[in-house]
């Protein structure tokens, strides 16, 4: 009996021992920091770093959108749509309808043959502007990445004033603020320069349905840039400022033109971006002398040849964009029979004879015929991986880890070419072409100087136009240029381009005097993914470009 009791007792103990207190239930998530973790000096630097490189550039993680990706991160797709529409590259793969968005309405070949697109790209893109189409909606991507970036920066700003800093707290705090406002300015710049309307969102937790027209969004971009300048001007302790900025620029970026920008360099980048905002959001034909002078003021205090700027590079560890698929250039690099993007003949034709940048970056090959769809997409060129090794000549692509320098925002060349354009347009042809020559020298083009040689304003502008296409390739301005120059417009409205080089996709025959009618939309409609979940208020600006 005693024995029995022992057993029963043990059983009872087991029964009771199995009981559990409710406090045990709060298991937390032991793997991850909490939002409170971000409210410290180290925490907010981590948050500000992640806001840009993760939430911003890699924020789309929903597989219904990224399931058919060819690469990874913002930099491989959003800028690619721009480069596709600007006829810098073409695509054969249907992923994210990259093969459809840039098929021109028609091409007239040298012999007068007209090849027409039965399904105009503008209509196809709009047909796909539906939330249920997910990954095939071109309008979705840039919008979403940039609003993710914007709001992640809003979270940083919401937290920064509550954070205690060591050392010169004002300088450190303002370094963080400059970072957040700079990237907000960047995001609004891209939204305002691309979409017909946008939203202004400053509170991280409040969604606005008051859509504003694109010029208002550009104004908001500039306002944020100005706030960044104000913050930079408040920096007094440079070592403390450097401590913060060093934590915000990923180690792999601190090479070449990348690194810890001084407040002055940073202000230069802002000025160049503000100049860009002005330049690219007006048709060339609509620019006034006042506009040109405003730009001149900005670019005269813009990025210099010795300034560090905002760049991106890949890394084998701690990368935020892959060396091989993370941006447009590496995805265009290699044999066009297997690359995602193919280099366009219309880019190659912009290189002047003897330009070393052509031979250092491309080889010609057996014509690659695009036999599906894109009747202007065939090409005789291959973009080289890491260049051909010519000393002192710029290299525009590499698939080696860390080798390719992606210019995320402003660069010296862009600033200098804006200077050139302003001067040419203001009649200072020689001064303007000096800037063109400077850029060519800077990139090791090895072509004869044009300043003082070319004097005709139209020819001077043509030098500038070609140089913008060539020097700023993969630098996110090609679409804006095509728009402001009217190239995207329908031929009937003075758009399109003539004297185009086109390889016939069926016969392989070379045409050098073709006419291409692109007829793409100049400003994009707001994606349905936004408007269906956040319908516009009654007082909102139109969210759809009224152009048919």
């Amino acid at each position: 009996m005693k024995k029995k009791l022992t057993y029963i007792l043990s059983l009872t103990i087991l029964l009771v021992g199995g009981s559990c207190s409710k406090t045990e239930l709060d298991v937390k998530n032991p793997n991850s920091p909490t939002p409170e973790s971000a409210a410290s000096e180290a925490g907010i630097v981590s948050l500000a770093l992640g806001a840009v490189y993760r939430n911003g550039f890699n924020g789309i993680t929903d597989t219904k959108y990224n399931g058919s990706w060819l690469g990874g991160s913002f930099w491989f797709l959003a800028p690619a749509y721009h480069d596709l529409l600007a006829d810098v590259i073409s695509s054969e793969a249907a992923n994210n309808i990259t093969n459809q968005v840039s098929v021109p309405d028609y091409v007239i070949l040298d012999d007068g043959t007209k090849i027409t697109n039965a399904s105009p790209a503008k209509a196809v893109v709009r047909l796909n502007n539906s939330r249920t189409k997910a990954g095939t909606n071109m309008y979705y991507f840039e919008w979403t990445w940039m609003y993710f970036l914007n709001n992640a920066c809003n979270r940083v700003l919401a937290l920064v004033d509550q954070t205690a800093f060591t050392g010169d707290a004002t300088s450190k705090k303002n370094a963080i603020k400059a970072w957040a406002y700079w990237w907000k300015g960047f995001a609004y710049s891209r939204i305002g320069s691309t979409y017909y309307a946008g939203l202004i969102k400053t509170d991280p937790d409040v969604v606005s349905n008051e859509y504003k027209k694109s010029s208002d969004i550009i104004a908001e971009a500039n306002a944020n840039f100005d706030k960044a300048i104000t913050a930079l001007n408040a920096v007094t302790n440079i070592p403390d400022y450097n401590t913060i900025v060093a934590g915000l620029i990923p180690s792999q970026n601190k090479v070449g033109k990348g690194g810890i920008l001084t407040p002055t360099m940073w202000v230069h980048s802002i000025n160049t971006m503000k100049a860009r905002n002005l330049l690219v959001n007006k048709r060339l034909s609509a620019m006034t002398a006042a506009d040109w002078n405003s730009i001149l003021t900005l670019v005269n205090n813009g990025v210099t040849s010795s300034d560090l700027v905002f760049t991106g590079r890949s890394a084998s560890v701690g990368g935020y964009s892959s060396a091989t698929t993370g941006s447009v250039a590496p995805l265009t690099t290699g044999d066009p029979t297997s690359t995602t993007y193919k280099i366009s003949e219309r880019l190659i034709q912009e290189y002047k004879a003897g330009d070393k940048r052509l031979t250092n970056n491309y080889t010609s090959l057996i014509t690659y015929l695009n036999q599906k769809g894109g009747f202007t997409f065939s090409t005789r060129y291959r973009l080289l991986d890491g260049g051909a090794g010519q000393s002192g000549v710029s290299v525009i692509s590499s698939r080696t880890v860390g080798a390719y320098e992606l210019f995320m925002a402003a660069s010296y060349e862009e600033n200098e070419l804006m200077k050139a354009e302003v001067n040419i347009k203001l009649g200072n042809i020689a001064t303007g072409l000096t800037s063109v020559d400077a850029v060519r020298t800077f990139q090791g083009a090895g072509v004869a100087v044009v300043s003082g040689v070319v004097t005709d304003p139209a020819l001077a502008y043509e030098e500038l136009r070609k140089e913008r296409r060539v020097a700023l390739v993969f630098r996110n301005i090609a679409f804006y240029d095509a728009r402001r120059w009217g190239v995207l417009d329908d031929v009937s409205q003075g758009g399109g381009r003539t004297k185009a080089v086109v390889v016939n996709s069926t016969t392989g025959a070379l045409n050098t005097n073709a006419t291409i009618n692109y007829n793409f939309l100049d400003y994009w409609d707001v994606p349905d993914d936004e408007t269906s979940l956040n319908p516009p208020s009654a007082t909102s600006a139109p969210v759809k470009n009224p152009k048919p």
Partner: protein
Amino acid sequence: MRKLLLMAAAFLFITGKLLAQKTVVGKVTDDQNNPIPNVSVIVKGTNAGTISKMDGTYSLTVPATGKVLIFSSVDMDPVELTIGAQSVLNAIMKTGDQTMSEIVITGSGVATSKKKLGISVETITADKLPIVSSLSQALIGKVAGAQISSTDGTPGARVNILLRGVNSLRGGTYPMILLDGIEVRATDLSAMDMSNVDRIEIVEGAASSTIYGAQGANGVIQIFSKKGKPGRMSINVSSSYGTSSYLNEGNLHKAKTHGFKTDANNNVVDANGVIIQVKPDGTYTAGVNINGVTQGGIVWNSTSPSNNGNKAYGQNFKYYDHLDQVLQSAQQHMTSLNINGGGDRVDYSFGISHNGQESNLKKNGELKRSSFSSNIGVEVFKNFKVRVGTQLIYSRDNFNPYFTAGPSQIFSMLNTSPFIDFEWKDANGDYAYVLPASPVSVNGRNPNYYYQYSFGSNKVIDVIQNVQANYKLNRFVELDFKYGINYQKQDVNQVYKNQSQNINALSRLSFIGGFSSNKGGISNTTYNTTFQNALSTATVRFDLQKDFNLKIPITTVSLVGYDYRKNVAKTYTTTGDGLQLYPIYNMTQTDTRTISTDRVTPFITFGTFFNQAIDYGNLGGIKGGFRSDFSSAFGNGSKAQTFYNGNAYFRLSQLKFWSEGRIGSIITEFKLRGGYGEAGIQPNAFDRYVTLSTAQVGSSLAFVTPSTQSNPDLIVEISKEKEIGADITAKLAKGNWFTGLTFSTTVWSRKSEDIIYTIDAPPSSGGGGLLTNAYSLSSKGYTFSLNLNVMKSKDMNWDFITNFNHQASKIDDVKGGADIVITSSAGYGNYVLRAGEKIGQLYGLKTFTSVDQLRQDGSRYIAKADVGKYQLVNGYVVDTSTKGLMFTNENYAFGDPNPKFNMSFINYISYKGFGLSFQLDWIYGSHLYNQTKEWMYRDGIHGDFGDEITVNGQTGAWSNYYISAYSDMWGSINGARNTVKDYFYEDASFLRLRNVSISYDAASLIKVKAIKKLEIVLTGRNLLTATKYTGFDPETNSGTSNSGFDRGVDYVTMPNSRSFMAGINLGF
């Protein structure tokens, strides 16, 4: 007066007992002379009784009034023996009408005869399971009311189990698995030792899984392991060997002809007439070929209406059968040894088994699985039993990492043009990787490259350890305590070799592995799961007649319990980037090393439950109760969720008019039952915790705001279900034929509420979505099973079983009303979850089947004036000038991919020593999106491109007819490539001869006393399939295993296989 009489009776009873009692002893055995323990032996008309011991013996003091002994046991026909003058009475008991007299425990927690159940519980015994390598495979078609399908033919792959409707979108449909009363959460059903199974019970829905509360909504599969029987030790050895070949029911093949530009000698040439040859990198692209000749690319004007794909291969381009080059017949074997026996107070069962199954992909390796199991029961003292059960499983495979990560080899194999030889090697003796022949074979990849440059291993150790203590305090109270620990450790090693010297990898700037460069790398991941489950119950039984001498035949059972579960899952991944050229493949040989994942996921839930059953004799009964659960995953963690249940049954056949009437002699059992129950599916462990995630950027750590916001207020998903059913047993004919049948049917309906899903947030909010209790779903269905004894004689027995199941689930409501769009692997399209529609529908473009095709707004696509430009070909509208098909540019729902019903027909026939069993499975009305085919259309690779059609009087293999199906929609030629189209949405109904087994037991022939069984078994599986589906296998789908909605796409899935096994079973 009445008192007096009672007292007198009591006196007589006691004195009688004192004066004239005698002791009777004996042994209870079955008809095979095996002892039967736990048989209740009662003196008829009295309270006196005992229970037979482990060796079947009993001893009982019988009062003088006792004339007859009644022997009864759970699944045996009761036996009555007259005592007379004998003092030794041996009883032989026979297995009764099994289906209705079985005792089941799952669902109610108390051992209950099926006759007295108010809920439906399906049971299957081990002898009814086919010889296959996994338990989950064995259950296919066997369980009434369940949809179990083998959706992936990879050895060891999970099966899809859908018991009653879709209850959860994130939680999937996988049920809870119990082994001997304890949950097994870490170990998958497919890995559990099959040779150790005694029987399986399945409860399918909330109404029946009444005691499982917050984890019971998907139903429960409970496995009971083999237990030793008292008496002589028995030893069973089984071994079987066989081969399996992949299924290709739809004759999936590549086009045997082509439509490329050729010269007069039928050589494939470029635009300039240069004969195209392979290049040094293995491709057929433009450039200098191996003969030093500069060639352009292939010319394939696929969209031209005159392109005829009817040219033969055989000159410079040969035709290679890639299925033959990549797939194979595979070997498999299974061996097991079981020893069991027992003594008076101890029973034991030991088993070891070893299985091996090769992949049907050549060079892909083998899955091996070894198991040890034991089950030991000890009666420590009277009425106190301790049972210890163990299962140790070691599984390992060396499948290629590219295969285990997804069906890459199959995609590669199917999307390479057939003129490319996978066995071709470059000048260095290496395989080529990327195999384009622009404009075709764009996605061509060589599976052999993966095998050359990558390898891996996957090793899993599973431990399932259960301890049970049971004490029958007295005849009223039984205490039971169970504790189980289920531990799993999985080590995944993946190696991608340095590819920096491969000619093709260099020329195509491509490499495998996902590392930063073509130097490859290593990834090692360890998954560790420790799951514990403790369950304490007390059962209190009263028999009002016996215990309180009341004249009402009421028995009551009360069950009270406490259940505790804790799961801790850990993941740890180390990655090494960049390997050297020498063949040493460990972390220290890599350029940079990182820990890419270090994660622990704790989860705790516990609950108490109470259930009360009241039975009125054998006539009917009611049960009711509740379970209250706490969980670390519930919103804010602190509030309990209570789940209620109730059920009742009524046996009309026990009413006098029935049992004594004519009807009772035909329909011996007629039971109506009905139940209501609630059960849940819990949120994921961290759904309620708002955190930041981290990522390394440069050399620093970045904080990342998750795209989907956690929600501290989530509540458990709750499923509320009603079921009603009937169980009927009938005696049909008197002779040997059609002697009896049992019919069971259940009709159920359920509503699932607060289903958790991420609802999209507008992008400007800065995040992709919010996790919330977003959905209401509802499901309904009915099921029946029929068990017919076709023939029974001395030498022969023939049982026929058929199971039928219909079920459908739909979405009732979505929070906020907006559609939820979910990625599918079907084209560039998506599943859309929309209120009022069925779950898992695909949306896409419709092929015109009439020239009068209308838009959704009622307008015509083809203007009336243009109708003459089109004609019907194979039922589709074709533009006679382009020979292209026409597709809408608006999306339509295609309908439910889930079957309208699934049905099985099973026969067990034995004649003397021979046995024959076979099973037919019929899945009707299911659909698959043939994404495999759509991809193969892209470059004209699919066999259809060689099929001739007639357009406008011209007959040919017109490529644009097929290309248009891949590329076009109305208003956008080439603008709907790889878009979801009903052209590729196919009927995947099938009738499959699932299993045929022929056996012969030669033990009686050889007459060696020690050998009790010498059975030779031949088994064939998936031998024949009738289907209209044009892919490999209509049963597969590529959706996430057990997904609630992703069930209708075939995207280069590994097909099932047809296998033949020969085996021998030896019993000693």
